[in-house]
Subunit: 331 residues, 2 copies
Amino acid sequence: MPRFLASPVALQVIDAILTAPKLYLTSHIAPDGDTMGSTLGLYWGLQQIGKQTRIACADPVPASFRFLPGHELFKAQLPEPDELIVIPDASDLQRLGSIYDAALYANRPLINIDHHVTNVCFGTLNWIEPAAASTAEIITELLDALGVQIDETIAACLLTGIATDTLGFRTNSTTADLMETAARLMRAGASLPRIIEKTFNTRDLADLKMQGQVLAAMRTEDGLIWSDNTVQMRRAAGASESGGAGMGNTLLSVQGVRVSVVFIEKNNRQVEVSFRARAGYDVSQLAFRLGGGGHPQAAGCLLSASLEQAHELVLPLTRALLNGHAAAHGV
Amino acid sequence: MPRFLASPVALQVIDAILTAPKLYLTSHIAPDGDTMGSTLGLYWGLQQIGKQTRIACADPVPASFRFLPGHELFKAQLPEPDELIVIPDASDLQRLGSIYDAALYANRPLINIDHHVTNVCFGTLNWIEPAAASTAEIITELLDALGVQIDETIAACLLTGIATDTLGFRTNSTTADLMETAARLMRAGASLPRIIEKTFNTRDLADLKMQGQVLAAMRTEDGLIWSDNTVQMRRAAGASESGGAGMGNTLLSVQGVRVSVVFIEKNNRQVEVSFRARAGYDVSQLAFRLGGGGHPQAAGCLLSASLEQAHELVLPLTRALLNGHAAAHGV
């Protein structure tokens, strides 16, 4: 039972793809499983129906996604004038990073397929489905509509998108429909245990030690929990810049906590701020105001600031969000 | 499509339950989501078909399962002579703890429904399905066969068993069949996000700090990783005796690690040893030899020993397991 094909723009997207002679698909920077899996799933589907297609990403494919069939085809390459540009899973064009070129993108069709509620609708066709837990679910239906047979290769790519964006079926967006789509992709040959093994179970020892440090630095007050991931801590643990990232969900899992914030001090005097919220709280607007974006329950932004400045800017806003919510609910 | 009803013993179990005037169901000690969810799911199903049923557990219901409908019905009570005893999810009778009474259990029918490969078949009817990721999946099919309509209450209990025993769909035993059963229980009204919230996302702050300490104490060598959870560490973190338990999967997620061991020093000079293994390695036999049991990928035992003695006993055996595996594969 399709959930997203009822959208009026879906038919226009299908028509544009079917009539395009050549296509160019691009993932977003800091690529995650959903942008990589959606791009590759669509790529293999288009191969099956005889479309000439190239795929691009400004950043290298992270080690944990190098098991995906076709990952080596990602290149930091620009679109050609005769290619139809399709962008899965990016909420704005800045998410394309260094391979976004305003002149090259001007005055041409641009297909934007995404599930982020903060998507700024930068395309000429914008197929945005915030009810989807992952862009991969939208791509699954798109491929069905294009007449593609979802084989093991495509299924592995799409299930990677679904499994990673739901944090392994743990988000509030995990529905019976989603579980059935996952089961269908498994029946088509995708191995969920293998995807879990590759994406969740290949932690670096130094990164895990780093996580221990982030846990040790936790502070809490009235439903808010936060911690730091500093250059100094990473140096002590021997961890990489990405080491210990993604702790926001762990912090959020503490009883009574409603919003978690992790401040990741980058090596270049920037601070990446990662927000997570329980159902009923929306951190996407907060992240959006700070120049970032995301989902109500998971969002982030990048600040040009010291760690201390980031605390001073972000923590009062987060407290206000929690208090505003309490006020709105008469608590 | 039933997977387990084809077992010849299934029909005998169904017949025994249908003809029993009264039933007594009991969960195992240190109750987990599968024993609680399976017992309660079966309980509510039997209520629906008019059976007089009582449920028992030697230990109190852990806080994280007190959302399950009927959890307050668990009592440390003994079976009556006219009750049919049904034991879901226990690999041996010692798992019943203080409410096991050899005299009361002698010379009477005993129904053993389980998915642990190390089950010792203590029942008069032993319905053991090691291919099931959880006992709850077997109970789902049993209820279908009994003519029970799986409603929201029953579905919530059974989905809790499935979601917890697969560590949230992360074990190798997570199949398309299992995902479809999960989807079916969600369609019947069970909320997976709520179950995840209650069982995975209600961590204690002190316990999480304790986890940071367990991570800090990690040691690795050639595919083996281990750590300690000591009385002293728990005291420093302000954590309970169960604080920081369940770190085995986190340790196992480190790249290159094949077996993890966590030594939990109890407050009474006993050491609980928790083993986790990647696919292709079997720690259940090792745990079984040490007086415990479990699954190939997750097993444990309880030693009356000091922490140092436990290290000296367990680590060489674990190294031998890894080396034996290497030798068997000509590595």
